[in-house]
């Protein structure tokens, strides 16, 4: 890539498939998901990984859906290693058998991230919409046994956030090197289920306190990363340090996005690596160029000193909540539309009733 206005991307999230045995109602995948027959082939994915490395990518996430739903993850991980990429398998743990794990390790996969839903088995299965806790525990043991770097990821929401201390203990007991405690971000299925997922201000404050103390207790053994619940913040999150700056996502059918939530922005068209090189998409495609720099910004962002800190916040959230992708992220207390967030916080109440994640249009409600 030639030097110019665009920087080199460092990270590629490869969403290999939307297929997943779990049905978590906070999934960040889009509501309308493509099925297996639209997925790219092994050869296409290998080409994408090679192009990504040439473009400067150093970190690769093999994700989904459940990436292990594809029989070629081992081959893709080995290809990534041969290119010099640092690869993370982002998995539910379902399908992570000893045999597949050995192949992945022998191919050079370094890092495995397993999602857990809760420390309480019953609630975990209720949220996943399927009984998989046993398989996850077995997968975690295999990760340790084979010597992978091991991360646990837990999405926090109203039904599990009060157990954050127990969740931290569980991750430590499983031998995690890293624990990501990620407060739900409201995209895709999570936005659909926002009322049922949103914790209260009291819950959020208590959990932050527990996480902060635990970070010190586990320091040096298990790193704890606490992802803030942005609705309860005064300023928005910086969208991957800027739109189209360091990060790109390729979805199962080859479309390439600056952020995994970007398909929500229906005013943008996303080019596919099936039609264009990744290089062209990164440098020139209209979707990647759209929100680079600050020319696109409106007030109050345009004249705000924080625009260099948070870039006006998340474009996907701005579009999803205001209908305008160039608006200030309404999480920002300087946004004229902050009331959208405050209303959402106020309206979240009662006992959770989820709309579960399914690829087809079928709906399922919780008991």
């Amino acid at each position: 890539m030639t030097p110019g206005d665009t920087s080199y991307p460092t990270t590629l999230l490869a969403e290999l498939t939307y297929r997943c045995p779990l049905h978590c109602p906070y999934c960040s995948n889009p509501l309308r998901m493509t099925g297996a027959r639209d997925e790219m082939t092994t050869a296409e994915w290998k080409r994408v990984l090679s192009e990504a490395r040439d473009l400067g990518v150093l970190q690769l996430g093999l994700s989904g859906g459940e990436p292990l739903a594809r029989p070629d993850v081992e081959e893709l991980a080995a290809h990534a290693r041969s290119l010099g990429l640092y690869t993370t398998l982002v998995t539910s743990g379902v399908g992570f058998t000893r045999e597949r794990a050995r192949k992945l390790r022998d191919g050079g996969l370094e890092h495995v991230q397993i999602s857990l839903q809760d420390s309480d088995e019953k609630t975990a299965d209720l949220v996943a919409g399927i009984k998989v806790v046993g398989q996850k525990m077995a997968a975690a043991a295999i990760v340790r046994e084979l010597g992978f770097v091991f991360s646990v990821n837990v999405v926090l929401h109203r039904a599990n956030i009060d157990r954050v201390a127990e969740i931290i203990e569980l991750a430590a007991r499983l031998g995690a090197d890293r624990l990501e405690l990620a407060n739900t971000q409201y995209y895709g299925w999570a936005l659909e289920n926002r009322r049922a997922l949103m914790p209260t201000a009291e819950q959020v404050a208590a959990a932050a306190d527990v996480a902060e103390k635990a970070t010190l207790v586990h320091k040096g053994r298990m790193q704890i990363l606490y992802v803030l619940p942005d609705y309860y913040e005064s300023y928005p999150k910086p969208c991957y340090a800027g739109w189209g700056k360091h990060y790109l996502v390729v979805v199962p059918d080859g479309r390439t996005l600056p952020c995994h939530g970007a398909t929500q922005i229906t005013t943008l068209r996303f080019d596919s690596v099936r039609d264009r090189s990744l290089h062209w998409i990164w440098q020139q495609s209209p979707a990647f160029v759209a929100f680079r720099g600050d020319e696109w910004m409106q007030e109050p962002c345009r004249s705000c000193s924080r625009k260099a800190v948070d870039f006006g916040g998340c474009r996907c959230q701005a579009f999803a909540l205001t209908g305008d992708a160039t608006a200030t992220d309404p999480v920002c207390t300087l946004s004229p539309k902050r009331s959208i967030i405050d209303t959402a916080i106020r309206e979240a109440a009662g006992s959770p009733s989820y709309r579960y994640r399914y690829i087809s249009l079928q709906k399922a409600e919780a008991h």
Partner: protein
């Protein structure tokens, strides 16, 4: 935590240094993170072997660059220790 020159630094066991042919520079890779290293940073980190103290690292580099780099080495490593990418004992 104040770091002294007697401390013995080592890379976090989950991090490794690679040369990136695209950027033509060394990079520090770790789970879901990247630090692009300039020449000096790369030179410092390559000496963090869990054996040498910060004073000894500064001494090796001081000879190479013909000046006292102790304060720079200490400051650079303190930042990475703060980010837990370098551990000391």
């Amino acid at each position: 935590m104040t770091i002294t020159t007697a401390a013995i630094p080592a890379l976090w066991r989950l991090a490794r240094i690679e040369f990136d042919p695209v950027r033509q520079q060394r990079v520090l890779l770790y789970p879901e993170g990247v630090v692009l290293l300039n020449d000096t940073g790369g030179a410092i980190l390559e000496l963090c072997d869990g054996q040498r103290s910060i004073a000894e690292i500064a001494s090796v580099l001081g000879e190479r660059y013909h000046c006292d780099v102790t304060a720079d080495v200490l400051e650079y490593l303190s930042q990475l220790i703060e980010r837990e990418l370098v551990r000391v004992h």
